[in-house]
Amino acid sequence: MRLPCPSLSLPEFPMSIARVNRLSPYMFMAPAVVIMAIALIYPLGYMIWGSFRDWAPSQTIGEAEFVGLKNYITLWNDPNFHESLTVTLKFAFFVVSIEMVIGVGLALLLDRDIRGMSMLRTMLILPMMIAPVVVGLMWRYMYHPTVGTFNRTLDSLGLPRVDWLGDHALMSVIIADIWQWTPFIFILSLAALQSLPRSALEAARIDGATAWQQIIYIKLPLMMPVLIVTCLLRLIDAFKVLEVILVLTEGGPGLSTEILALRISRTATEFRELGVAAAMSNYLLLLLMLLTVGMFAFTRWQEARAARIRALAEEDS
């Protein structure tokens, strides 16, 4: 890396402030940049390159034949890919919206000084910490048509059994994800709630707002920035889910739970079409990029607004 020469400093003083100030950030950044470059950026570029090739796992990329946009077009016309994409979007939508509603609702309900709140939080983060693989196997056991906890409970209640991972696979997968991740939203919302300006809420009480009115007029609007960020984080994470579904259903029955991540991995390992898998990865990446850019636009917009406001305030004072 060539560094810009410090123009101000006198050459005979190597330890000039300017020099140190300009060098040290690069020194501190260097290891991270190197690692990210070789293990993330380069691979991503490599993937884009590979997506234009007909590429089998046993070939190096150089041996693979260049096929242009063929992989993308194939996918574009592939009903299975469409279905998988739909499943992914459905999964993400339901998971995020249900988790948001439950998580925020619970946070609003439990936002008070209750003894044992920290214990509750500890217990609630447990599901998030456990390996997705283990979560998958726990739920696979619980969903088991005969041995599983749910059907046994239904049996003992005299209710008809449910074919969890068959007819209702997507729902079951969604439930498992909700189980694992609702606490995330709960905890973030609770933190947001508790960092709300207490006095604004007290002012609302004095202004005559009932508990409901406080939630609707004060709490929710004030939590909104956090909620939006949380929502986006969850949304992006929802596209990363793979292991739980892999263990629970392996994408079946049919393609009913085959989310894109899973399909990518299957295309690469089972169908042995790395090029197609790479193209699919690119589609997914594009989708996520849209989300990310959306998130950025949002934070940028917020920052800009905050800056504008500050500027305004300074003008007046």
Binding site: P57, S58, Q59, N80, H144, P145, T146, V147, N151, R161, D163, W164, L165, G166, D167, A169, T249, E250, G251, G252, P253, G254, L255, S256, E258, R266, T269, E270, F271, R272, E273
Partner: protein
């Protein structure tokens, strides 16, 4: 002593996690004791094993000296020139055991699993040669609950009609019990289950010119049969993999189970099974013809192996009369006629005779073994799974498969000569 030269060598082998190979694991210490050759086993689920091998075999120097491969991998590996032709080992007087008796190996298996390059490229024929030896090969049989069938006076199913009839009658007669447990989970499992019925009902995936005919009447009938079976099957049948299906049967949740013989010893194991002694074994019922599956595994020596000779010795030992019997006694699947006739085995596993009989009808062409099969297989599997869960129109679904298959085949060059 032919082994002396290799004493102390470590042979690294790649085996699937599978009842047969579990039995092998119990026998391997015997081999080491006898020969002084150490064996290190990397046991993987068989689909994983295939992925691993794809990678390993492509290397210049591979990790494994001996691999076990799923039958449909034969096409890939041989096509990519990754397996050793076994001829040169059998020609080598220092290595080849004169008492090996290759004629005793079950011929159908050898043709199906070991030989490549004959008819259609994957079937035996004059142009074929031997790349692997069947080991842990399987055919399908029907296991049924003698007690239940007797109780309701149902006869052992001989034909598909009887089979389907029984499958749907049982749930009515025995509330809470499914008719037949079958694989059905999306992907490979559903495809496997469908093909299992396709051959006896007279269907094929391709005709002799590689045209997909999976959507003909036989295909529809096979899909219908599968659907009937799953619909009348036990709770949750449509997400069953083979182990769930076998467990359901072992747990008494289903009255029948038709799948590979590899599962059958498990039903006689009191640790795992609640139906010990109540199970009858019958041949795969007859549709328009008899045609049970052929499948399972073979063992082969990769081109990039390090200790090929020692690996051959292990391979030969395991598939020798003695080795085969030892493995069979531990619950493995015999690869030799003589093993099936062994009195000790028949005593321990009374169903062995039935299996031996079933083998005669094993159909080596029940599923094509060509390099693009993985993709077609996945397509059939997903489509079948949709048929089972989403009530897709069967004819339409199969037409779709046929069309996509044709495209795949076309791209792979199968129609070049037409």
């Amino acid at each position: 002593n032919p082994y002396a030269e290799y004493e102390g060598t470590t042979v690294i082998v790649n085996f699937p996690a599978h009842p047969h190979y579990d039995a092998v694991m119990r026998v391997l210490p015997e081999f080491t004791k006898e020969t002084g050759i150490e064996v290190e086993v990397d046991q993987l689920p068989y689909l994983k094993m295939r992925e691993r091998q794809t990678l390993e075999l492509a290397q210049e120097e591979g990790e494994y000296d001996l691999i076990s491969y799923v039958v449909f991998s034969k096409a890939d590996y041989v096509f990519a020139d990754q397996l050793e032709n076994l001829a040169k080992f059998f020609m080598n007087p220092k290595l080849a055991d004169p008492s090996y008796d290759a004629d005793d190996l079950i011929d159908g298996y050898v043709q199906n699993i070991g030989v490549a390059g004959g008819t259609k490229g994957y079937l035996p024929g004059p142009t074929g040669s031997l790349f692997g030896i069947p080991f842990g090969s399987e055919t399908s049989v029907l296991a049924y609950r003698k007690d239940i069938f007797e109780k309701h006076g149902i006869a052992e199913p001989e034909t598909y009609a009887q089979l389907l009839d029984a499958a749907c009658k049982i749930p009515e007669l025995e509330p809470g019990m499914g008719g037949m447990a079958s694989r059905a989970a999306s992907g490979h499992q559903a495809s496997h289950a469908f093909l299992l019925h396709l051959a006896p009902l007279g269907g094929r995936v391709f005709d002799d010119k590689w045209n997909p005919i999976i959507n003909n009447a036989a295909g529809v009938e096979a899909a219908n049969a599968l659907k009937t079976i799953v619909d009348c099957g036990p709770e949750g049948a449509m997400s069953f993999g083979p182990s769930e299906a076998a467990n359901a049967f072992a747990n008494g949740d289903a009255a029948m189970f038709m799948d590979s013989i590899a599962f059958m010893p498990g039903f006689e194991n009191p640790d795992r099974s609640k139906v010990v002694g109540k199970v009858g074994y019958a041949m795969h019922p007859e549709g328009v013809r008899r045609g049970s599956q052929t499948g399972g595994f073979g063992i082969a020596i990769p081109k990039n192996a390090e200790n090929k000779e020692a690996a051959f010795l292990l391979m030969q030992w395991l598939t020798s009369k003695k080795g085969d019997l030892m493995v069979a006694m531990e619950g493995g699947n015999p690869s030799r006629f003589s093993t099936y006739q062994d009195a000790g085995l028949n005593e321990k596993y009374p169903f062995s005779a039935t299996f031996g009989e079933a083998l005669k009808y094993a159909d080596p062409d029940w599923r094509p073994i060509i390099p693009v099969w993985g993709k077609i297989n996945a397509d059939i599997g997903t489509t079948m799974s949709k048929v089972l869960t989403e009530d897709l129109d069967i004819q339409q679904a199969l037409d779709g498969v046929a069309e996509r298959t044709r495209a795949v085949m076309d791209e792979a060059g199968y129609y070049t000569w037409q």
